[in-house]
């Protein structure tokens, strides 16, 4: 009996490993721990390679470049894309709607968009990174330099030499 249940437990363990349902701990730079499924964590190529290299799955992964607020939002994206199926038309539509709402919230808060973009870049979360860079590009499209500065809160710091070069480049373009 005892050996039987042991084998069953081992089999369940192996199955769990295979289906990627192990839990992984990510720690923000403030020391806050976030427990996520392996499928969710694997959305990040950085974490995926560390897991596949047999790294410190049990100890968890400290992320010194990401704060708790940003990590929570990034995990929200990873959970949606890692834990949910996207096979049927309906499932894919639900995911697309999630992305749309997700980026709309960030679009309204450019400081947060910056943090999420940096985190997506650091963690190599391709889908999220594509989403945020596209959002940045869409904000820039059709705007004057002054409007772009206002949208992102950028100070005008072009030197006279910069201005001269820009003028010159404009005549060549």
């Amino acid at each position: 009996m005892a050996t039987g249940s042991g084998a069953a437990a081992a089999a369940a363990d192996a199955e769990e490993k295979e289906s990627g349902s192990r839990m992984i701990t990510l720690t923000s730079n403030e020391g806050k721990a976030f427990v996520v499924t392996e499928a969710s964590a694997r959305q990040s190529a950085t974490i995926r390679s560390m897991v596949d290299d047999g790294g410190c799955v049990d100890k968890g992964f400290p992320l010194p470049n990401v704060d708790s607020k940003t990590l929570a939002r990034v995990i929200q994206y990873c959970d949606e894309h890692g834990n949910k199926e996207a096979h049927t038309v309906d499932e894919r539509a639900a995911l697309a709607k999630f992305d749309k709402d997700f980026i709309a919230e960030l679009d309204a808060d450019k400081a947060f968009l910056y943090d999420v973009t940096m985190a997506a870049n650091y963690l190599h979360i391709q889908g999220l990174f594509a989403l945020t860079t596209q959002c940045i590009a869409d904000t820039i499209k059709g705007k004057t330099p002054e409007e772009i500065r206002t949208a992102f809160g950028i100070e005008y710091d072009l030197t006279a030499q910069d201005e001269e070069e820009i003028k010159e480049e404009d005549t060549h373009a």
Binding site: K110, Y114, M118, A137, I148, E155, D157, L158, E169
Partner: protein
């Protein structure tokens, strides 16, 4: 506020990659010093916009010929190698509703216009009441004053394909003949015209000119199966 001007250069490069229009890149460059440097680093030279005339296009701005009146619009219906095929609609005489349709080739680079008067017998107002031109392709000989052969694909059962040699004449298949009535795409390749049908069969059409210079079709062969089954030598 987030330090957007300190966004790493490689990251800015990926944003620039999502700005396909030169005007957006030019304005991006003038935002701040760091963004200016990023554009200089990531954009080698302003991208050349390709000359493409899409079909069917919006009305085309073209100088009207002297004395031409009542032009309703001019639409680009196809383009190949710098030549655009244009379809101009003009209102006919006062009191009638019918419109006059004229066709011509125009090369915007050389400012050359070649009238396609022969098409007007087929593509008249009655044709356009129910049907439309789906595709127009042009095969030009390499010499500047050389001949053109124009192939027009339509959704009209009797004129699914029209070959037109400007100044010489036109050719259309006999009414309701296969494979022409099933054609969904056409292309010139080397000296033949190729057709794709709704059944995804490929046909090669041998082209020739009769003694008056009118285009004719000398042979139509299935190119999709025959070639595959041809014995290897």
């Amino acid at each position: 506020m987030a330090p957007w001007s300190d966004l790493p250069s490689d990251l800015l490069g990926l944003v620039i990659a999502r700005l396909p229009f030169p005007a957006d890149r030019a304005r991006f460059r003038a935002v701040c010093s760091a963004w200016h440097s990023a554009v200089r680093l990531h954009v080698a030279s302003p991208p050349q916009l390709p000359w493409i005339a899409l079909s069917p296009g919006p009305p085309v701005a073209m100088p009207t010929h002297a004395g031409e009146k009542n032009v309703v619009n001019t639409v680009c219906v196809g383009s190949t190698d710098g030549w655009r095929a244009l379809h101009r609609t003009t209102a006919a005489a006062a009191g009638t509703k019918t419109k006059r349709h004229t066709f011509f080739l125009h090369n915007p680079f050389t400012a050359t216009t070649v009238p396609l008067a022969e098409l007007e017998d087929v593509l008249d107002d009655a044709f356009f009441e129910w049907n439309e031109v789906c595709k127009v392709i042009i095969r030009s000989s390499s010499c500047p004053d050389g001949d053109h052969l124009v192939a027009v694909m339509t959704n009209h059962y009797n004129f699914p394909l029209i070959l037109c040699q400007p100044g010489k004449g036109t050719w259309t298949p006999d009414s309701c003949t296969m494979p022409f009535v099933r054609v969904i795409d056409i292309a010139f390749f080397k000296d033949k015209l190729y057709l794709i049908t709704t059944a995804e069969d490929l046909f090669a059409v041998d082209l020739a000119a009769d003694k008056h210079g009118k285009p004719t079709v000398t042979n139509v062969a299935s190119a999709s199966t025959d070639n595959r089954e041809a014995p290897m030598t």
